[in-house]
């Protein structure tokens, strides 16, 4: 079954355009001489297209409906305001003008806590650092990921840290991974990981995870969700509550 799964992974990588040009060339050579593979790809392509079309259709209809509802609500709010206060302009021109991008850039400078590293001497490889508690291979990925993070090479950092087998067991490292994903535009992965980390009980950096989660929401235009998380941080009076309040007062309303 392992061989078959590998074959399926190649088919997916081919259909989802995730192959390098040399891999693609090699795969297409194989495809030319394998009618069974051609048939498999033809059927899977139809299925994947159908899944994507159906979801895309539903999501566009949903967006269209929400846009209409939102437009109605905004106009209702504007009308009420115009009648009662005469401050129509107040609702059209929002009281703050800081864009989501500006907020994200201004507030995404906080570094996560240091990860403990031990220096060890290997008879073959000489002196090197390891992360205590991690298996050797994972520790190497961890050290490499943290080095990339320090050098602000976030794509490489995320990619190294993602290779740690059970990263869920090391939430501090996972936070580095999620922040790296956020800073390298892998927003959907970053949000999933930050949502998970924010929900962890007894995780000492949960507040920072929430803080970055709000930045992730801002970065992806989910302003209402960002405001909700920021309010929670501000109310908790923890390390980042002042920053959360500052962000709240700088943000646009919708």
């Amino acid at each position: 079954m392992e061989k078959e799964i590998t074959r399926q992974e190649k088919i997916d990588a081919y259909l989802l355009n995730q192959m390098s040009s040399s891999e693609r060339d090699e795969f297409e050579l194989l495809l030319d001489s394998d009618p069974e593979l051609q048939e498999e790809i033809r059927i899977r392509k139809m299925i994947v297209e159908e899944i994507n079309d159906r979801e895309s259709y539903l999501s566009l209809i949903d967006q269209n409906m929400k846009k209409k509802v939102l437009t109605r609500k905004i106009w209702r709010a504007i009308s009420i305001a115009a009648v009662f206060t005469g401050l129509l302009g107040f609702f059209i021109i929002q009281p703050t003008t800081t864009s989501n991008n500006e907020i994200y850039s201004a507030f995404s400078d906080i570094q996560p806590g240091e990860i403990e590293r031990d220096k060890v001497t290997d008879p073959l490889r000489g002196e090197e650092y390891i992360i205590p508690g991690l298996p050797m291979t994972d520790s190497e990925f961890g050290i490499k990921g943290l080095d990339y993070f320090e050098r602000e090479e976030y794509i490489n950092a995320a990619s190294s840290l993602q290779q740690i087998k059970n990263i869920k067991a090391y939430p501090e490292l996972m936070l580095y991974m999620a922040i790296s994903q956020l800073k390298s535009n892998q927003s959907s992965s970053a949000l999933i990981n930050l949502e998970y980390l924010s929900s962890l009980k007894n995780f000492k950096s949960a507040e920072l995870a929430k803080y970055y989660l709000s930045l992730g929401y801002i970065n992806t235009g989910k302003v209402l969700k960002a405001r909700k998380v920021l309010k929670e941080i501000a109310r908790a009076k923890g390390t980042y509550s002042t920053r959360a309040s500052e962000m709240l007062s700088s943000m646009r309303w919708f």
Binding site: I43, R44, M46, I47, E50, D53, R54
Partner: protein
């Protein structure tokens, strides 16, 4: 211009076609409900499916050669879907069949192609619907949301490792593909 009167070949992408969804819906539902005495729920479902076919065709640039209006296309596809729906529920009388067929203003050859396309679409869609919830979630996250398996693992409790998830995804896709192939063969489609 009335949205229904827009020439279909001028609708260039799926975002534009979605803008007309609501405008045509009310007229379509009201027309078929009154004329054929069909309940609103059924006709709303037919409209939803009809518009999905139009959406797909626009998305994949398959309507550029047609010279009809959006309304003509929607009503023709809708009538065809309604015919099939009534036929499958054994509610189709001869008069109803004739009358619905007269609503189809598309060229016969075009309509035959559309019918095959609709059949294939609905076979795949039904096969996806018949999967277990867990399979549907994995497939949706992997192919639509383009999530990595490592991220899917966080979203789905019950899978202990990426390898277990890979096996599960493989089984789901195998089942789906086998079911689609069997139905295609049974219906003489390729």
């Amino acid at each position: 211009m009335d949205p229904g009167e827009v020439p279909i070949k001028t609708i260039l992408n799926e975002k534009v076609i979605i803008r007309y969804y609501d405008d045509l819906r009310a007229a379509f539902v009201s027309y078929f409900r009154k004329k054929y005495n069909i309940d609103t729920e059924t006709i709303s479902d037919i409209y939803q499916e009809t518009y999905y076919i139009v959406f797909k065709k626009v998305k994949h640039k398959q309507l550029a050669a047609l010279s009809c209006t959006l309304k003509t296309y929607v009503y023709s596809i809708g009538s065809n879907l309604l015919l099939n729906e009534l036929r499958s529920k054994k509610l189709l009388t001869d008069n109803l069949e004739k009358s619905l067929e007269s609503e189809i203003s598309l060229d016969k050859n075009v309509m035959e192609e559309e019918e095959e396309y609709i059949k294939k679409t609905s076979i795949i869609s039904e096969a996806v619907d018949k999967l277990t919830d867990i399979c549907k979630s994995i497939i949706k996250m992997f192919y639509w949301e383009k999530m990595k398996l490592s991220d899917i693992l966080f979203k789905l409790p019950g899978h202990q490792s990426i390898d277990a998830l890979k096996v599960q995804k493989y089984k789901c896709m195998k089942k789906l593909e086998e079911s689609v192939k069997a139905r295609f063969n049974a219906e003489g489609l390729n």
